[in-house]
């Protein structure tokens, strides 16, 4: 039986959670308002601002781009991040220790510096198409999550299981797919989700790499906000929160929520 | 300062599950009592109740003339050795040991002196400035012991203190614990699941099951005269043969077992507790012989134990284990008779299941 927590402290924590969730509730309320300006509590209930989202082609287009970019960038990052994480965990003696730190550079270097530098080198310097530059930027941005989260799973993986498979006649490459990967599934799912969300919400890298015709949803939102201040933005925000809910539901179903505090 | 510990009709719940059922226990001044049982039997719960980490749902806990029941843990003045040792990783050995003195407002110089003394006594004088991370398991155990002893508590409690040590160290440490406890004359409550450990160092042992004490007695009595089938099974009476007293035959009671075989139990050696009873023995309590009065059996697998051969024997009451002499091994599948040795058998009342 734990000792009781001071009631004042509990009251404070309750206030903090109001502070954390209140603004999100306000957005939901504002998105349902029938007025042409943002207000809370909503005056009159209507879904017309949700309809409006899908009438603005820029939102429709950037939604698709953002989704494809998040999936594509994460997949690319996983494709190269999983072998790297595997090598780090499996070949501790053969690889220098600082190697693990190189993969986390994308979160160590300020994102906005990364975005600016990528713009100069990739978009302007190499003349890469916008979408290619975005894909590389996002793959880079989420690489730390892929390597770290999958790596954490691999670190608790008992590699003698892999050796057992090989001793039973399974080729090494095949043992990786049928023995190692299934056992670090949780890490891969968790890494994928974190990376996906990071990419989907990114502003600082994307803002330098988007250009005419090709933009991401958060950048489009920023641009829209500078010109209009109507409930459409609230509606898009609620749709994005919906994505968060979906992601958390996936986490809950596949991993349980305890992994979030680790 | 030695006092006694008593638990009077203590009950405890986790949510709606009852984990301790009306438990009473008295530990006399200077006595070491062990709570012995498998996990989930309530032994650790009992200890945590006395320590003040749990609140009983009923009953009283007294230490000497103090009523501990509603006292917060930090005001109880009980020395506790944890299974995990629970050493403060950010403090040195000396600081760990001095921690309790510091809470008592003992002066810095006095803290240093008393902590130093006790660290020397547990043989860690040369390691006093180390952090726990740099100690071996046995050394950590000694620090935990020193930390509990230095506050000179009227009651010492041990929660499976040796379960994280290797076998040899376990034996050394339990001797040391017993030596220190006796030297100080401190009352002690010791929780373990290891029967040998409990029996070797305790004045008395309480064997627990499902939140109740099944039997509380000296190790000698528990070992040779278990009071019920649970305790008998726990202390290694592997054979439990159901019997029924059918008649008196002179100065013996004639008992019948499944299959119709009968056995005469001399009244001078056996006390039959009820008409339906159980003959409980260890394998060495049944002697395998070629013929005579006893339980007829067919011998099966034979294993070599060093001091004897052990046979898995088929009887009308099921498989039992019995020992036979080294000088005369029996062949597998041969018929034999199992003769109970009175001094190694117990007659227990048949429990209504």
């Amino acid at each position: 039986m734990k000792q009781r927590t001071h009631p004042l402290l509990i009251a404070f924590a309750v206030l903090v959670f109001f502070f954390l969730l209140g603004p999100l509730v306000i957005i939901i309320g504002a998105s349902l308002s029938d007025t042409s300006y943002l207000t809370f509590p909503p005056q009159g209930l209507s879904l017309r601002w949700y309809e409006n989202v899908f009438e603005i082609s820029a939102f429709k287009r950037t939604m698709v781009i953002s989704f494809l970019l998040a999936v594509g960038g994460t997949a690319l990052s996983m494709l190269i991040g999983i072998p790297a994480a595997y090598a780090l965990a499996r070949y501790r003696v053969e690889l220098p220790r600082f190697l693990g730190n190189i993969y986390v550079l994308p979160i160590l270097i300020p994102e906005i510096v990364l975005g600016f530098s990528l713009m100069k080198s990739l978009a302007t310097g190499l003349g890469l198409p916008i979408i290619a530059a975005l894909l590389i930027g996002h793959a880079l941005l989420v690489l730390p999550y892929c390597v770290r989260v999958v790596g954490a799973s691999l670190n608790s993986f008992d590699f003698s299981i892999e050796e057992a498979a090989v001793s039973l006649g399974c080729p090494r490459w095949k043992a990786f797919f049928i023995v190692v990967l299934p056992n670090v599934r949780a890490g891969i799912i968790a890494g994928f989700i974190l990376a996906f969300i990071t990419s989907l919400n990114d502003v600082s890298v994307s803002i330098f790499l988007t250009g005419p015709g090709v933009s991401t949803l958060p950048i489009q939102l920023l641009a829209h906000m500078e010109q209009f201040f109507d409930p459409t933005i609230a509606s898009v925000s609620v749709l994005l929160m919906g994505v968060t809910v979906a992601v958390m539901a996936i986490v809950e179903r596949t991993l349980g929520l305890t992994f979030l505090t680790k | 300062m030695t006092v006694s510990l008593s638990l009077e009709n203590v009950s405890a719940h986790y949510g709606s599950t009852k984990v301790l059922d009306d438990l009473s226990l008295h530990v006399a001044e200077g006595e070491l009592v062990s709570l012995l049982g498998s996990s989930g039997c309530g032994k650790t719960t009992t200890l945590r109740l006395v320590a003040g980490f749990l609140e009983p749902s009923g009953g009283k806990i007294r230490l000497g003339d103090r009523d501990l029941t509603r006292l917060p843990a930090h005001a109880r003045n009980i020395g506790l050795v944890f299974q995990t040792y629970a050493l403060f990783p950010h403090l040195t050995v000396r600081e760990n040991v001095a921690f309790g003195l510091k809470q008592r407002g003992v002066s810095r110089a006095e803290q240093r002196r008393r902590a130093g003394d006790i660290i020397d006594r547990v043989g860690l004088g040369h390691l006093a400035e180390r952090h726990p991370a740099n100690l071996s398991g046995g050394q950590r155990q000694r620090v935990a012991l020193a930390r509990a002893l230095v506050i000179e508590p009227p009651l010492l409690m041990f929660d499976e203190p040796l379960s994280n040590l290797d076998a040899k160290l376990r034996v050394d440490m339990r001797v040391e614990i017993r030596r220190l406890q006796q030297a100080n004359g401190t009352t002690a409550l010791y929780v373990t699941h290891d029967q040998e450990e409990a029996f070797s160092i305790s004045d008395r042992v309480a064997i627990m099951n499902a939140g109740q004490i099944m039997q509380l007695d000296t190790p000698e009595v528990l070992y040779s005269r278990p009071a019920n089938a649970f305790v008998a099974d726990f202390v290694g009476f592997e054979n439990m043969i159901p019997m029924r007293a059918i008649s008196e035959a002179g100065d013996a009671v004639r008992a019948e077992m499944v299959g119709g075989a009968t056995l005469d139990l001399p009244k001078s050696q056996f006390t039959v507790p009820a008409q339906d009873f159980i003959l409980a023995t260890r394998p060495e309590g049944l002697e395998v012989t070629a013929g005579g009065a006893g339980i007829p059996a067919t011998l099966g697998l034979r294993t070599y134990l060093g001091r004897a051969y052990q046979y898995h024997c088929e009887t009308a009451a099921g498989t039992v284990k019995a020992n036979g002499p080294l000088t005369q091994p029996f062949a597998a599948d041969s018929a034999a008779v199992l003769v109970p040795r009175a001094e190694q058998c117990c007659l227990l009342p048949q429990e209504s299941a």
């Binding site: 903090v16 999100l24 906005i112 803002i207 958390m248 | 005001a75």
Partner: protein, 275 residues
């Protein structure tokens, strides 16, 4: 294939991605700052002599430090309650902290735009209760940026510190109590020293995050409350002064890397388990 070769082969794609697309571009950004004809450090001289640039740097520092301190206190108190809550409630509270964290920066900053704007909720409320007669703009002030930043980073702090507090074994606080430590003493002498490395990690995350943020100061601070991130963007994309922007980038990298390196040294020294 020998193991060493196999190890490098598996690592190569990820290494190449980082070195080619992060290492080279960032180094080239840093390199351009030293290429001034007036001397390698001329750009930095300009930066540190310019009143305006220094105002931006100090403002960013100030916002980051206030955000970090408030988040630390608020986050620690909340994490304490969360960590000690019964397990069902605890999962709910953790969900409540994770949800805003996974919701994007733009959405969360936008919420404060709605709350603090001239026709915003707070103004309407204050006028409604008669506290003010005229709506006044709370946007584009340092206070607005700081509130939104705290809002942004408190969940991160809570989650980090719940992990830290749960990592302190219950046995240790039990042991402290059994040795006579009152709850306050046990907190001060056992819990706090054990939590220090985690507190440092959380603070570094929040400090670097708020120091380098872009979207929040852009939306709530605007031109008037320029911070390093928005300043960098403005130099690069509005005035096309890439060398100037690179200098800002270099200062940002220097501040964040120094913070990370120094604080992780401090954390390692204070780590109780290292001994």
């Amino acid at each position: 294939m020998p193991p060493r070769l196999r190890a490098w082969a598996l690592s190569a794609p990820a290494l190449l991605l980082v070195l080619l697309f992060l290492g080279l571009p960032v180094l080239s950004t840093l390199a351009t700052t030293f290429g001034d004809p007036a001397g390698p450090l001329a750009q930095y001289a300009t930066f540190f002599e310019s009143r305006f640039r220094m105002t931006v740097l100090w403002r960013t520092m100030e916002v980051a430090i206030i955000t970090t301190s408030v988040s630390l206190v608020v986050g620690f108190a909340t994490a304490w309650v969360v960590a000690r809550a019964p397990s069902r409630l605890k999962s709910l509270l953790i969900i409540a902290a994770v949800f805003p964290l996974l919701t994007g920066v733009v959405v969360r900053s936008f919420a404060w735009l709605v709350i603090l704007g001239k026709n915003g909720i707070l103004n309407n409320f204050l006028m409604g209760i008669g506290a003010i007669s005229e709506p006044f703009s709370m946007l584009y002030t340092q206070g607005a940026v700081i509130i939104a930043m705290i809002y942004l980073f408190v969940p991160l702090m809570i989650l980090t510190l719940v992990g830290v507090l749960e990592g302190i074994p219950q046995d240790l606080t039990d042991a402290a109590a059994s040795l006579g430590a009152k709850p306050a003493a046990a907190f001060r002498q056992v819990v706090l020293p054990m939590a220090v490395p985690g507190l440092i990690v959380g603070s570094v995350l929040v400090f670097t995050g708020s120091f380098t943020s872009y979207a929040t100061p852009q939306l709530l601070g605007g031109e008037r409350q320029m911070m390093m991130g928005t300043f960098l963007y403005q130099r690069a994309m509005v005035t096309f002064d890439w060398v100037g922007a690179s200098t800002i980038a270099a200062v940002m990298v220097a501040v964040t890397l120094t913070t990370v390196i120094v604080m992780s040294k401090v954390a390692r020294r204070l780590n109780p388990v290292a001994g």
